[in-house]
Amino acid sequence: MIVGNRKSFEEILEMIKPYRRVLLLGCNECVTVCAVGGEREVGVLASELRLWSAKEGQELEIREHTIERQCDHEYIDQIRSFVDEYEVILSMACGAGVQYVAEQYRTRIVLPAINTTFLGVTLEQGVWSERCQGCGTCILDKTGGICPIARCAKSLLNGPCGGASNGKCEVDKETDCGWQLIVDRLKELGQLDQYEEIIPIKDWSTSRDGGPRKRVREDSRL
């Protein structure tokens, strides 16, 4: 899922300062699962904003609304009937959602309430961890199912580097060395011979280096 962190209340206040009518828009997908921008978090931020405005004597109208996905225009369309009543949309979706809402309502100002951080997994309730950087060329078949691009701080294709110590990364003692994890896993799988194969230089043009990416599946188009 896409994981994010909510921006600080101070930062959010600074963004919405010029406005009096705010549509606080949540998303029911990834940001709900990682507890940052779903219906509950919309409720908490709306409550915070109402308490703040009451305390400061500022006029501020907040409408809470959460749609199924902010990355699909069918769902974004659902707010069309009332979106014009608000000066600004404060989106609690990931960066993709914020942008797509802005694309659909070109006359509305759309602001981000969260910082989108990574593609990851839920380690336990309340703890998420990065697993994928969406580089466009997956090599998990060669690395025991552990991604050196996302899990190694240097994204080394043939690691580990000299900074690894006792299985931890030099960047942070709490962070596992991605290549240590790969070697351990290959050992467990009896595939350590794969480690001896040199992984060739990566073509980063399939990643962000090739510019914004797009996928078209012709048979699925209408």
């Binding site: 209340f9 101070e10 915070e48 308490l51």
Partner: protein, 114 residues
């Protein structure tokens, strides 16, 4: 025991403090209350094992939210007591009332628009 405690304390009954959601506390403040405290069971004696410990974590988090919005986290507290500690219940009610009285009325009292 016929214990007395301040009449300004209004009790919201819940099956376990673990049921208390962050938003529930914030809504209480939106409704204009001056302070909120949770009276959970003694730590280590939760019938649901960790309900009161979870509640404490949420209280700490909501305190930080109240600080952010300028109400002050001191208006929210978590207490632990057993159902047999009526004396302690009355004592906490007095303690919290005095604390909130010292802080003054909530600055958002009756001002929040639904």
């Amino acid at each position: 025991m016929r214990l007395h405690y301040p009449t300004n304390v209004k009790i919201a009954k819940i099956p376990c403090t673990g049921r208390v959601d962050n938003l529930l506390i914030l809504k209480a403040f939106e409704s204009g209350v001056d302070g909120v405290y949770l009276a959970g069971c003694l730590e280590g004696e939760c019938h649901f094992l960790e309900g009161n410990l979870r509640a404490r974590k949420r209280v700490e988090y909501v305190k930080s939210l109240l600080d952010e919005v300028g109400l002050g986290g001191a208006r929210l507290e978590m207490y632990n007591m057993s159902s047999a500690q009526g004396q302690r219940f009355a004592e906490v009610a007095r303690e919290m009332t005095e604390k909130i009285r010292a802080l003054g009325p909530s600055p958002v009292r009756k001002k929040v628009k639904g």
